[in-house]
Amino acid sequence: MKKILQLWSFSENSYAKWIFSLSCCLLILSINSMAYSQNTFQVSGTITDATTGEALPGVNIIVHRMTIGTASDANGHYSLNIPSPTDTLVFSFVGYTRILVPVEGRHTINVKLVSSTITGQQMVVIGYSTQKKKDLTGSVAVVNTQNMIAQPVGEVTKQLQGQASGVTVVSSGQPGEAPQVHIRGFNTFGNNTPLYVIDGVPTQNISDLNPGDIESMQVLKDASSSSIYGARASNGVIIITTKKGRGKINVSYDSYWGMQYPKSGNVWHILSPQGMADLAWQAYANSGIAVADMPPALLSQYGSGSKPVLPDYIKPAGAKKGDPSVNPSLYYVDPNYTDPAQLNGFYQIMPANKSGTNWYSEITKPAPEYNSNMTVSGGGNLGNYLFSLNYMNRQGTLIYTYLKRYAIRANTNFNVSDNIRIGENLEYSTTNNPQSSVLNEGSAIGFSYREQPIVPVYDIKGNFAGTQAPGLGNPQNPYAYIYRSRNNKGSANRLFGNMFAEVDVTKNLTVRTSFGGEIFSNDYRQFNYPTYENAENTLSNSYAEQHYAGHNYTWTNTATFQKTFLRNHDVKVVLGTEAYDNNYNNLGGTTQDYFSFNPNFTSLTTGSGTTTNFSSRGEDKLFSLFGRVDYNYRDTYLLSATLRRDGSSKFVNNRYGFFPAGSIGWRISNENFMKNITWLTDLKLRAGYGVMGNQLNVDPNNGYSLYAGNKMMANYALTGSNQSTVTGFQQTRYGNPDAKWEKDVNADFGIDATIFNGHLMLTGDYYIKDIRDLLYNPQLPGTAGLASAPYVNVGSMRNRGFDGSIEGRGTLTGKLKYDATLTFTTYTNKIIKIANNVNYFDQDGRRFNSGAIIRNAVGHPMSSFYGYKIAGFWNSQQEINNADAAALKASNGDVSVYEQDEGVGRFKYVDTNGDGHITPADRQFLGSPNPKYTYGFNLGLNYKNWDFSMFIYGVQGNKIWNQVKWWTDYYVSFQGAKSTTALNDSWTPQNHNATAPIQEAGSYFSTNQVPNSYYVENGSYLRAKNIQIGYTIPSNVVGQFGVSSLRFYVQAANLFTITKYSGLDPEVGFNQGAGNSGSYTDFGVDEGSYATPKEIIIGVNLKF
């Protein structure tokens, strides 16, 4: 707690607020015990759900226009003394339609409440306001939070996958790894993360939000619903409201425990050690290299016979059992060596693992997970309160990765008087989340398909074995790699929330002020061990520590006017201002040369070698004015308009922008001509148009031409010193003071229908988004130097798509009730313009160096795959000669070869432009990782005390670039592990119908040097994300123990996946290596993913 107080002192006055809200929390506990002795007339009754007939506990009952009230108990009973038998009672309960019942002298009033989701009376939170769901004119997806949080991953962004139409989430199995979330296609070349608004406070980050605290979640998808968030709306807005207390004291405890199981078996299809050796012999023979001319290092392991023979030891190379060189007394390794020169004196002895090491299974293991959530809540006339405490510990299936989180929340709300409400929402969280990098060759997962199976995990003395044994390539021991990270620690702390006050100035006018934001800090420390077992070793030991911290605040003031004129004209007007200020700083250092590697010893001060420190900081601000008008006539003609003016510190000459939007709705079902259609409960047509902005994609310094010193780039050892440099300056940035917002012009047409009295609900939207003035930093000509090019508003792109959902609910037979939802998302993204003279930009060269895999080009969707298309193999020299002759003829004698490095058994590429030979101009688009559509299907069934739920998610029509095949399917792509395809299904004179080309000792344009269609695979999949069966113990059994509800459940997550993809997991996100700014334009390249594990879970829900 002391830490929290210190953090608060960052901003003035905050301390007082904290104390105030804390003391308020304590006060509220006594609210329910207050007596109302002056009341005389007693009313009592039972409240039940109109559909299910179940008793509803916790329903608020107050006397209309008074502060007298109570709440129903566990059995739905209530009893209340009221001043007069002519009063009216108001029954309200979240998720149900509020009703007013005149007492009319009755002492017993039983009430059936109707679920508001069925009637459309449900209130949904939209930008700076609330609206009845049925009156929405914008495109808003209301997330079923119950279904959502049933996913056992603990991070809201991952749970959102498939739960809301129009939202695309690409995730991985790594705990805490931020998924790629984007709404309705892509809205910018840069950061596509939507804006999250939690209890009215905007933020870009919800990774530490406890899902159990979420009451409701709305996704604002189109301009008419989200452009009131102006310059931050373009990526879509997700509004989250956290839970509030109500009724008598509720204590609930929800907990689950589970195990996650990684894939087992030969997941990379790697050859046996003998197969590896046979492949080497085959490849050299295919290249016309005699065994005697093969590299001595290779022969030293397998002998120089016509067939390779597996050794007993790989270091000393090729040694047999009993050889004096493997005498253990010779062995000397100091794994914690501090002087690189010591390495020279090591004598390591590594046995050969002739049966083969399965490296993937060495670095993965079944991992437990545990989550527990305790909530205390309650409320009454004077206000309400809710505390929650969440502990979650999700271990990763890749060893030494995990996510541990502690989150504590306090939400309180006070009715200070009839017309004044003050409250706060606050979460403090601490997260420990060491992650491994994924989708790249240099990670533990990457090494697991590169390290050869003949290498054992350990040498004869239990130190690590590896490619220090000659002739086995250069990967690192994957287990050692991740094991050495075990003591790296990091923690992220965050305080997020707000405090607000609301005053009803008159019956129609409410003013509200909210001050909120976050204070966060992240620490990370890491020790880099020297290595000794690999071909390429790290020779130094070093320690690094980093601290990233910041705070931001949002101060929002609104005035809301609401009135019904002339009975049928409902008008609601909201006007407001908002100020946002964001500060962050980064501080870190490294030190080398440690006397001891004990994690309790290593710190920045205890090293004796080179020390380095660094820091950076930044600030950006927004100031905004906004307004909205909602009008409806007879609940039939609906109209909404919003306007926002934003000023941003990130821009210089174009600091202010206007973001207007409007929408109309027509509830046809209210028209007289529709009244006779009884099966149609509700039908509404909607249309909206507006402009949204984006300013994430621009550096705060973008407007300025700047110079800076940089020790690495500008300093120079002018004095001739071997050890130190003289400070130099360089231009670091060209400024563009004219940059402005990215502008997202959006039209949306939607339909909402409720059929068969709420048994079936449909929502569908078609949209077009034209994004203009896209910020892009076109590469400057080399003649301008390397100073960062500024972002300029030059690009444009278009998204079109359809998203919708169908929800059905009802009773099948007797007590068997069902609730099913299908969500459906499509988008087509097309780049219209990048910059003048720039029709594409390439990314992601991997081992192709400058031959990039990804081309973002005009007329194509983001992150399209690009390269040569394979027409087949060259099956004979005659075929090559014919092609060469044709090339010579087509070029009038200029070109004598059809294709560079052509050879029998290698790839023949398609001559796309028909000029008779292969040039870079023959590259073509080979597919896109963007799916044609994604879908999610939730099914819930209830039978008496049993409940069943299931969630299926699918992705259809996307491609994946399986870069793992570059490593495993060509002998020549480094001397690492190879696939069974390379040995058994590669081209040979006998096997023309092969998968892989001929295996050779050389690397060629026509085999593995350039991106080509060999790597492109169908990435469609269908996955059973969640299947759950629960049983609720009847309340008459547990009631005697003071328990109001007790439910047990078992759950299976990711039980099966149907896919044709040959890699580890078809869910492949963006390339982390590309950094945040480049990532959204570079995804779908699989170089070893952190696969989503299968999970088995048992859980309990307990309420007192």
């Binding site: 590299p295 001595p296 290092a297 030293s300 690189p340 020279n344 004598y347 000659p470 071909a535 070793n537 020779l539 130094s540 080398q592 080179t610 020390t611 950076s616 900081r617 927004l622 100031f623 310094n701 300025y704 031409s705 700047l706 110079y707 020790k711 780039m713 300093n715 120079y716 050892a717 002018l718 001739g720 071997n722 050890q723 130190s724 300056f729 360089q730 231009q731 590469q779 400057l780 080399g782 003649t783 130097g785 390397l786 960062s788 003048n836 003279n837 720039v838 930009f841 990314q843 081992r847 160096n849 400058s850 870079p920 480094f974 000792a1001 050389g1002 690397s1003 593995n1008 040097q1009 480049g1078």
Partner: protein, 623 residues
Amino acid sequence: MIVVSCKNYLDAPPQGSLSSPVLQNNKGVKALLVGAYGALDASGQYNANDITGSYSPWEVSPDNWIYGDVAGGTFHKGSDPGDQGTAINPIARMTVNPQNGFLDAKWRADFEGVSRSNQVITTANQTSDLSSQQKNEMIGEARFLRGYYYFDLKKMFDKVPWISDSTTNYQQPNNKDIWPNIEADFKFAMDNLPGTQSDIGQANKWAAAAFLAKSYMFEKKFQEADALYDEIRQNGTNSLGVKYQLTPNFEDNFRSTTQNNSEQVFEIQQVANDGTSTIANARMGDMLNFPYNSPFGCCGFYQPTLDLVNSYRTDGNGLPYISESNKFAYDDTMVTNDQNVAPDAQFTPYQGHLDPRLDWTVGRRGIPYLDWGPFPGTKWVRNTANGGPYVAKKIIYWRSLESVEADHSTWAPGTAINVVVIRYADVLLMAAEAKAQLGNLDEARQLVNQVRDRMINNPQNWVNYKYNEAYALKTVDSQAAMLALDAIAGDYVVRTDTKSTWVLLKGDPSNINNWNEYKDPNYKIGEYPPGSFTSKQDALTKIYFERKLELAGEGHTFFDLVRTGQANEQLNHYFQYEGQYVSDIKGAKFTDTYQYYPIPQNQIDIMGKDANGKPILTQNPGY
């Protein structure tokens, strides 16, 4: 109230940087000048540009090991075939195309240097607190550097756009020869810089003169070059005022503690362990070029060719096998190598006559690898089939200097060994070439001999078994003492009785058959006798060959071959000869298209089009 104050509210000044006016003073210009020097080591800029701009340090290594040595046939790329193969193999095999990203990186790195040099000039001209002498000296250094960067661009790409300090539009065509501009920059620097500077790293008058003379040589202005070389030889000094002369010890030019000596005309200064925890200032461009599976860590690139090693064979007079009539006689016999010899099999190094410079240039089995012991052969070579059996030497740090020269901050080593751009031996051989071109064959011969004399006169500098003493298991004086040692495979012992080094290859140290003896090489080097330069062509052939022997592994070869018109003949011979033994360049052919690298396609694209719709940058012919 809030509305009124929001104009100021939105001000958020940039953090951690300065705007241009702050630098318009003496200190500021000086800092920009240091920054212009800082761009010499372009490999440190490797992630300078965020989105499309990042490149790897070796793509822009200022010693041009890829573009000068690998392309020149003196070195193989090395490593595994696929490792960086997509970009480097086509350069080595003369099939490079304009899409090659390495060339784009190289182009941009040199122009960053141009850009920084121009900023110095612009800012100096805007600054009032500089005396005119100070201003001219600073501008002089900046123009020297600009000349240097353009010189590098010119020899790579030939057609290069000219951006000066007065250029405001960066879209400039490459349709004019920029040699006159380069000359003017070096001339200005030569006229305005002092002979003696306060810091050794600064260019002085003579460095500018040497570059100007070299420019003349590229332009075939032999008269002007000859006169200037005479002046440099007469009066030239290094930046601290020490008269130019060859150092007695050849390897002093490749060791950080002995560099910046009397032979140094211009070096790019490097530092190790400079507090950045990176090797950005520690010769990062060569980080891949260390022996493999060795104490260096990484990565087995940059391997000398068989053809280069054969070049060092000498006859009974200590002269190389070269003449106008038989330009490839040196390849008639191959220097014995261990291409197919396992590390634990016996190997006897070549016993024929050799030029001692070989073993300061190439690491080969059995010969002291600086003070790292006898080079263990294929054990430290990544893939002999792809890159041959040899490793580089001039860029390698000494074991005894590891704490000074080596930087292990990252996954591959950095070193404090300076990049030698021009050293006095280069000046002498260029001067000899100018003399020969002007028909003055005997003076040319004497200049060549002056270079050879360093080795002839300093036999104490020839590599011998004593270099192994420092880290040998032991120095002993008899076989019995050696066999009694508790040695393990890989240990080496210096024997004073045999004057040789013995390595235990495997097994039992008491069995003499498990030991491999390495005798000292049979060095022989002599002067060209009077009259041995029989004709202008013969003289030139021998001078060119002397450049190969003296300067191999310093990034010159390919540019020398093109400059002297030998590329076709030499490279096609090399491909034919070397391709019999090493697979990476097997079957390659050189055609004249490849004498200049293609203008990077990316640069042509982003430079845009002119008013007539034609690309502003013109591609070199043939691409």
